[in-house]
Symmetry: C2
Subunit: 119 residues, 2 copies
């Protein structure tokens, strides 16, 4: 039962689109990830996903609209909804989602990350 | 599917020990709460609970130790573990926990808040 310091954890990695697990509770994972550039369109059939911006900003694209997310803002993407994060500059994000969640959802490919590192 | 701006939500209320619901996903609630003073000792038999400090600091007391939590730090309190938050000055905290979680756990009393407001 140790506390987690978010800036310290963010300083542990520099790569993009590669979430790290920093907490687990009630079958959910708390993850940190850095985005830069365009991700892939995907959806999660069974998991809602929360994106909380710690530093920077990015836009979440949906098929019918775009939501700009800035520091201290969060968005919950419901299961089944196609989405694509796009970040012009690097952004640090905290994710809150079921432990079963795969980063690329139903679009497996080179950006898919399985067996995430715990830091 | 609207974004949530945390500072705007925090500006909506001023009372202490009265969590507001600002998000729901996968059967979990995202809540905002302000602490000031001493809460009651309690535990949650079935729910792990995450405390993320947005602004300020507080200490989480356990029966055998105390953890000081500052801005941008979080702590996960596992189910069954007795705890008591204490804040000398006001602190703003984000909670992640199952929708079933009662703020005072197994210690019902005047600080118990049921049917929380969604803001």
């Amino acid at each position: 039962m140790n506390k987690v310091n978010i800036p310290e954890k963010l300083a542990c990695f520099r790569d993009h689109w590669n979430p790290r697990i920093v907490g687990e509770l009630n079958g959910q994972h708390v993850k940190l990830v850095k985005f830069k550039g365009e991700f892939v369109w995907h959806k999660h059939d069974d998991e809602d996903e929360m994106f909380y911006v710690l530093q920077g900003e990015f836009k979440m694209e949906f098929r019918d609209k775009t939501v700009m997310l800035r520091e201290n803002e969060f968005l919950i993407v419901p299961k089944g909804v196609e989405h694509r994060p796009v970040a012009v500059d690097e952004v640090s994000v905290m994710l809150f989602e079921p432990a079963s969640t795969l980063n690329t959802g139903d679009t497996k490919g080179e950006l898919t990350r399985e067996a995430l590192e715990k830091i």
